[in-house]
């Protein structure tokens, strides 16, 4: 390897790349998002072969490799199957802002969902010692007029007090 000069000024170039994006939701995801916005309902789709629910719905059942075309409402309450308590929130690379920590994310098995599928969302709780698997939780929706057809139309899930 050639010897390096003892002091060498290394030039760096900084650049912020931005790519405006516009995603099509498609008929399957679109149906889910519309139901959130217009009806405050959480829709799962069901595999005609194995009966498994998927929420959010996906075009096909990954296990059976067939299109999952039937929709069923699930939730808004469910059981906490797993969760994360996040102490380190990665700053947004563009804005530099971070979520307030600690915050919790949850995998919720929504009532009515079959086959063990869980739904991933934020869990709103300030006392993290309360969290354990098996807790009953429910979705809290954004107010009328503020829902836009995005996953954040569900603001978060909260623990249902008194239901152990």
């Amino acid at each position: 390897m050639p010897p390096k000069p003892l002091s060498e000024e290394l030039i760096h170039r900084e650049h912020m790349a931005r790519f405006p994006q516009r995603w099509s939701t498609g008929p399957v995801m679109g149906k889910f998002l519309k139901a959130l916005r217009d009806e405050k309902r959480i829709m799962a789709n069901v595999c005609p072969r194995c009966g498994r629910s998927q929420v959010p719905p996906r075009e096909v059942c990954a296990v059976c490799r067939v299109a999952a075309t039937q929709f069923e409402e699930v939730g808004p309450a469910g059981t906490l199957r797993n969760f994360d308590v996040v102490y380190y929130a990665s700053p947004d690379p563009v804005t530099g802002q971070s979520r307030e920590v600690p915050y919790a994310t949850a995998y919720v098995e929504l009532d009515g969902a079959k086959g063990g599928a869980t739904f991933w969302h934020e869990l709103h709780e300030t006392d993290m010692t309360k969290l354990r698997r098996g807790l009953r939780v429910r979705a809290v929706f954004e107010e009328d007029g503020k829902r836009t057809g995005a996953i954040t139309d569900i603001k978060y899930f909260e623990i249902i007090e008194g239901e152990a």
């Binding site: 931005r18 790519f19 516009r22 008929p27 399957v28 075009e59 296990v63 490799r65």
Partner: protein, 352 residues
């Protein structure tokens, strides 16, 4: 994205009778681009639709003809007898595809001057057209011919025929490339099933054989290349022709489906592939067998272009190309390209 990919996967699954849930398909080779999808590891979005849940899937992150090449290697290596190749891309999702291809340029020399693939293609067009005295009118005529072909292709994106007046009125995007000379932003997906000889005959009564493959990559800096030709295309072609035992390419192919996102690239690639000696003269000849589909110019997302051109060639050889069928086609050439002004090329020879 998932829906689009599922549609084409379902089509080949139905046509061959393979069971994605079983052991029929040994591996999936996907073809997509994280930048165009605006998503890291974008193949994780389609694992389920390609049937790769708990199976093998490998993503080729270049033009789709490279996915054909790698799919072939998968089968020929003995690791899978049957491989599903699935390519997908939605250019409509990016705000501006020039911003995406701009990011392909190195951050130090070429990105700061504002290059993107359109500008690179324009530099190439200028060099090539000038070298052979090909005029704007010549190119306009070619575009009208190709658009007329696309009008007969139900799978083409842009099917409205164009007149020379339409083309002349088409705004200049990057001299000498008018809007009409550049492919429209496109969404699309392509799937195909590759199989070993043993398995092929069980899956279809019209197998199309891959008899030649060749790929090569040129220098990165545009100034290091003679843009009026393409050394890497000549190399790729040479490799494919050697493998397929083709001595005289000019008369070897009944159909040629070349990736031409920019109109001037059709005569340029045809020449460098050895399909013609004089690109200017070629333009006034019988071009029926060149991109009978309308080509990539009619609107194929650049990431899957080579896969789409290969699929078109296969349809031709199976006599399933409908109105655009070249009668009696037995041997076809398909081609794909990646990178600025065709830095990399992949050539596929197909025969019945």
């Amino acid at each position: 994205m998932q829906g689009m990919c599922w549609e084409v996967v379902q089509h080949v699954v139905r046509a061959t009778g393979v069971d994605l849930a079983g052991e029929d398909v040994g591996a999936v080779v996907s073809n997509s681009d994280d930048f165009f999808d605006c998503r890291t590891i974008s193949d994780s979005a389609i694992t389920d639709v390609v049937g790769a849940h708990f199976k093998c899937e490998e993503k080729v992150a270049q033009d789709g003809a490279q996915a054909v090449y790698y799919g072939y290697a998968n089968v020929a290596s003995g690791s899978s007898d049957v491989v599903l190749v699935a390519g997908h891309s939605k250019e409509s999702q990016v705000g501006d595809r020039n911003l995406i291809t701009h990011a392909a340029f190195d951050p130090f020399y070429t990105r700061p001057v504002g290059l993107d693939y359109l500008a690179a293609a324009a530099l190439q067009a200028d060099a090539f057209l000038r070298r052979f005295g090909i005029t704007d009118a010549d190119l306009a005529r070619l575009v009208c011919q190709q658009r007329a072909k696309a009008a007969r292709n139900p799978l083409a994106n842009e099917r409205t025929p164009l007149s020379p007046a339409d083309v002349a009125a088409s705004p200049m995007l990057a001299d000498p490339l008018r809007e009409a000379y550049v492919y429209p932003p496109s969404d699309g997906a392509v799937a195909m099933i590759l199989a070993s000889e043993d398995r092929a005959r069980h899956l279809t009564d019209k197998p199309v054989w891959i008899t030649g493959l060749g790929s090569s990559i040129d220098s990165f800096f545009l100034g290091d290349r003679d843009l009026s030709e393409s050394a890497s295309l000549r190399q790729a072609a040479g490799r494919a022709y050697r493998m397929a035992n083709i001595g005289q390419p000019r008369t070897a192919f009944d159909v040629c489906e070349l990736s031409d996102p920019y109109a001037h690239q059709l005569p340029l690639w045809a020449w460098q592939l050895g399909l013609t000696e004089d690109p200017r003269q070629w333009l006034s000849g019988d071009l029926a067998r060149f991109n009978p589909s309308g080509g990539s110019l009619a609107g194929t997302p650049q990431v899957v272009s080579g896969l789409a051109r290969t699929a078109e060639a296969v349809l031709q050889l199976r006599n399933e190309a409908g109105e655009r069928q070249i009668p009696g086609a037995k041997r076809a050439l398909a081609h794909g390209t990646t990178g600025p002004a065709g830095q990399q090329h992949c050539v596929v020879v197909l025969e019945t």
